[in-house]
């Protein structure tokens, strides 16, 4: 009975003593054991750790101690978030069996708030992918249609949330890796402003784009998780020293809120079901008093090429540390060069190698200006597009993805896969906050996500407008068939 409780509801019931944290965790572990064999959302479960944490919470409650805002809430973590003494792999063979000696800042914060980490979820290796098919370990299925991908790279987190195998989860978003799987799997996924959430303990893919954020079944739950993990961290020099506003209990009134509709996002090829669902969201917002404004973000078409220079370049550097010398998988070798080549040759999957090679190429001496630097200049142009747009609107509404969840193996070429992120990349390049909120199902019964992009540090408006979409056309209590 407790499995479908969300973040807010679980915390409330545990704090009131209506249910013990141990009961909640035990039920969740049983459910995971029952469902995850089929779904494949988790790479690693920490049953013992979760039960111990739950027991400790129950003891604290009995002793009359004050419990945190997430007391007893079972949380799943994308496996690129470093967890002390819980194997962390980033979905890569090169880190298979790595047992970290420290917790990521977001993990510390969750634990301090009373959340219980039940396990680590599947992802495309190092976050490089849009379907979770690029995990070195397993496939994760979309709970709404087992023949389809859950999206990626935070596909395990999205599937776990969608199937009620956790109350909420954290993912990371470098080019859409929270929002796209949220859209495919019928969850709310929020990518905060770059610097809003600490990256300490986040296994880097592309440092200037990576950001941690929540996936949950409701906007309220996502807000509660964001509230917990946001804030300045002296261990992350890119984290912003800005006060965190209240994200919880925001009004959902959108009267007079100006919502920009960028023509570039609606002009391209969009699946009919997605288009129809977005129209419903637009209509609902207009009916609720929002003002829809046509805007233009003229450099949108440059986001994809810029992203595929910046992200691989940074990745090629960030992944240099996986050399087999200090941790992770080490290949047998007789000399240094072959140690590197064999370790990295066997440890990385093809997509990771592809991006390392792209990035290495882009950073070569004499090519830096033509590639990496130019891509950074495009970022500035994209950011300028948004700065200009904010003159006429408060938030921007787009589809999160051009299609609904695709079938396994459907994106045969890397380019096809890259195009799945076409609507989510600009947000990361500009460092803006973004959210994907479900806006109904297609006639095939597949979820559709509406994406909202906000001004820097204005996650509050995303939560507010996202809440309004959720109230009007969201999935609310709709659960994927077959997962009662």
């Amino acid at each position: 009975m407790s499995e479908w409780w969300g973040v807010a509801e679980t915390a409330k019931r545990v704090r009131s003593g209506e249910v013990t944290a141990f009961r909640v965790v035990e039920d969740m572990l049983v459910r995971i054991a029952r469902l995850d064999r089929e779904l494949g959302a988790y790479l690693e479960l920490d049953g013992d750790g979760a039960r111990a944490a739950a027991n400790e919470l129950d003891r604290q409650r009995k002793a009359g101690e004050l419990l945190g805002p997430l007391a007893g809430v079972p949380i799943a973590l994308k496996d690129n978030l470093v967890t002390k003494d819980v194997v962390t792999t980033a979905g890569s063979k090169i880190l298979a069996g790595w047992n970290p000696p420290y917790d990521a800042t977001v993990v510390e914060k969750l634990r301090a708030a009373g959340a219980i980490i039940v396990g680590k979820t599947n992802l495309d290796e190092f976050g490089m992918g849009s379907s979770t098919e690029r995990s070195a370990f397993k496939k994760t299925k979309n709970p709404w249609d087992l023949s389809r991908v859950p999206g990626g790279s935070s596909g395990g987190s999205a599937a776990a949330v969608a199937a009620g195998m956790c109350a909420g989860s954290l993912g990371t978003d470098t080019g859409g890796s929270i929002r796209q799987p949220a859209a495919f799997s019928g969850c709310v996924g929020l990518k905060p402003t770059y610097g809003r959430v600490s990256r300490w303990g986040v296994i880097a893919y592309a440092s200037s784009l990576d950001q941690v954020g929540p996936l949950a079944r409701t906007v309220e739950d996502a807000a509660l998780l964001l509230q917990t993990i946001a804030g300045h961290d002296p261990r992350d020099a890119t984290s912003l020293a800005t006060a965190v506003p209240d994200f919880v209990d925001l009004p959902r009134d959108v009267q007079g809120v100006k919502i920009g509709l960028p023509k570039e996002y609606f002009a391209g090829e969009i699946e009919k079901g997605v288009r129809v669902a977005l129209e419903r969201a637009k209509t609902a917002l207009r009916d609720a008093g929002a003002i829809l404004v046509d805007i233009s973000l003229p450099h949108t078409h440059l986001a994809l090429p810029a992203y595929y220079l910046v992200a691989p370049a940074e990745a090629s550097s960030n992944l240099a540390r996986y050399d087999g010398v200090r941790y992770g998988t080490r290949a047998e070798a007789t000399d240094l060069l072959s140690l590197y080549m064999k370790t990295r040759g066997a440890g990385f999957g093809p997509e990771v190698k592809r991006r390392i090679m792209l990035g290495t190429y882009a950073l070569r001496s004499g090519y830096y200006d033509a590639y990496y630097k130019k891509a950074q200049q495009i970022r500035a142009l994209i950011k300028r597009d948004f700065d200009a747009a904010w003159a006429s609107c408060d938030v921007i509404l787009t589809p999160t993805t051009p299609t609904t969840a695709f079938r396994f193996g459907a994106k045969a070429t890397p380019i096809d896969m890259y195009l799945a992120d076409i609507f989510t990349l600009s947000c990361n390049l500009a460092g803006l906050p973004g959210i994907s909120v479900p806006c109904g199902l297609t006639s095939e019964g597949l979820p559709v996500g509406a994406q909202l992009l906000g001004k820097p540090l204005d996650e509050a408006s995303l939560i507010r407008v996202g809440g309004a979409i959720e109230d009007a056309v969201g999935l609310r209590d709709r659960r994927p068939g077959g997962f009662p």
Binding site: L81, I203, A206, S207, S316, S317, A320, Y327, L363, Y368
Partner: protein, 478 residues
């Protein structure tokens, strides 16, 4: 002809900054600890770790930047220098590339007692790598040194001999210690040097093909390695050969260098701005504090000492380290009258340094404070004691710590400078030696010394020697 060729040398010197903790993480910096005991998740390059720059390292680097008259970049940038090596846990070194902290500075060298100004291309911040050691077929990595903050000081190719290169190192060594930004202990690798060496025909503006010498870890090695490389290159050009661009490793034991890698094997470091670190901003307040707190530097001090009438060689010794110059200035300030500097300088460099050397002590460990030396010098200068007695008083005061005046009074060694009293003594001495007085009057000049000696003997050496000479001449009649 070999005389037609001139060597051109540029140096790249790494200086370890004397911070308590590493450049980008809070782990302590120490020397001689057990291998890999000074590490943390960042130093180990564990996944998910991030660097946060140590602001103390910035302050230390800024001191050097200001002291070398460099242009300071208000907003500089860290860049990643990428290569694979086991002592480099992240697969890249955090350094600075096209936006370094300091540019266009200079370092003034004292070549003998002549000044020579060498331009500095840049001074940038970076982190040190760890250390690999090889025992037989097994290699070990010690990461204690990894992440220690360094500045790299890059000179223009303006040095023209191995001696100048060595002097550059000495001057930089003195400066960083003077500024208290580094211990610069070369045996601990806190000051390390790579040298770029080339030769060209005299009168030629263009530089010849250079080689880079690595692993030069003492002043003597700088000189030996550069000399050796100049000679090697001259042999090649003399035989009509061409210098190949390469990196050579100096082997101090063998006294020669060996090729390490050629240009073809050179790394492409794929520099790019480190996305984990925001631009390094120099706060205005920090800059103000550094400018106000900057000590008087060695070369201006050398020049001031010359103006005090101190001989150039002595002035050079006095600025050889800051503690010496500070001792000297403190002693001079006790009684700042004209000419006192020269006297104190003499006493310091002969008596004090002699005594310290004999004891194997540095100026910092001097048992005699500058005020005491100044008091002693004043007592000699005002005639209370003679210079000869002064040396004895110095030795006793140095040994026991007793004040010079107390020693003088206790030993009753005040100089006799009272004219009637001295006249009476001299008169008695002359009367007691009538034959000699007669002989002297008869033209035997050599006997004057006999009378001086007799007066000194009669006064236990306390007679004022100048007055004694004057009065003796008067008494003896010429």
């Amino acid at each position: 002809m070999l005389e037609d060729w001139e060597p051109v040398i540029g140096l790249e010197v790494h200086v370890q900054l004397a911070t308590q903790t590493k450049a980008f993480s809070p782990t302590a910096v120490k020397f001689g600890e057990p291998p890999n005991s000074l590490t943390d998740p960042l130093v180990l390059g564990l996944p998910g770790t991030l660097p946060v720059f140590n602001q103390t390292a910035l302050e230390l680097a800024l001191k050097l930047g200001v002291a070398t008259g460099s242009q300071i970049r208000a907003k500089s940038r860290f860049a990643r220098k990428q290569y694979f090596y086991p002592d480099l846990p992240k697969g890249y070194q955090i350094s600075q590339y096209d936006e370094p902290l300091c540019e266009h500075g200079h370092l003034d060298l004292l070549i003998g007692t002549q000044l020579k100004r060498i331009k500095l291309t840049r001074i940038h911040l970076e982190e040190d790598a760890g250390k690999n050691t090889h025992v037989g077929s097994v290699s070990h990595v010690d990461l204690n040194r990894a992440g220690v903050p360094l500045v790299e000081v890059v000179s223009e190719p303006e040095l023209t001999s191995a001696e100048e290169a060595a002097e550059f190192m000495r001057s930089l060594h003195r400066l960083v210690r003077w500024l208290e930004i580094s211990e610069a202990d070369m045996e601990k690798g806190q000051l390390r040097c790579d040298a770029n060496v080339s030769v060209r025909m005299r009168g030629e503006d263009r530089l010849g093909q250079r080689t880079e010498l690595k692993n030069i870890n003492s002043f003597r090695f700088v000189q030996n390695a550069v000399d050796h490389e100049i000679a090697r290159q001259l042999r090649i050009v003399d035989a009509g050969g061409r210098i190949e661009r390469e990196t050579r490793l100096w082997d101090a034991d063998a006294g020669q260098s060996a090729p390490m890698r050629s240009k073809e094997e050179a790394n492409d470091y794929r520099y790019f701005p480190d996305p984990d670190l925001p631009p390094l901003v120099v706060p205005g307040a920090t800059m103000g504090t550094i400018l106000r707190g900057l000590p008087e530097l060695p070369i201006p001090r050398f020049e001031r000492y010359l103006r005090l009438g101190i001989a150039a060689d002595d002035a050079r010794t006095l600025v050889s380290e800051r503690a010496m110059a500070d001792y000297f200035d403190a002693a001079c300030q006790v009684n700042p009258v004209a000419g006192v500097g020269r006297l104190i300088g003499n006493w310091m460099l002969t008596e004090l340094l002699g005594a310290l050397n004999a004891d194997g002590k540095s100026i910092r460990e001097s048992p005699m404070p500058p005020e005491t030396l100044a008091a002693l010098v004043a007592l000699v200068e005002d005639g209370t004691i003679s210079g000869k007695i002064g040396k004895e008083v110095f030795a006793e005061s140095y040994r026991t710590g007793e004040a010079p005046l107390a020693i003088i009074d206790r030993r009753d060694v005040r100089q006799i400078s009272d004219e009637p009293a001295l006249w009476e003594i001299i008169d008695n001495v002359v009367k007691a030696n009538p034959k000699q007085a007669e002989a002297y009057a008869g033209g035997k000049d050599g006997l004057f010394g006999f009378f001086v000696g007799a007066v000194m003997k009669a006064t236990s050496g306390r007679a004022n020697p100048v007055m004694t000479t004057d009065l003796l001449r008067k008494r003896l009649g010429r």
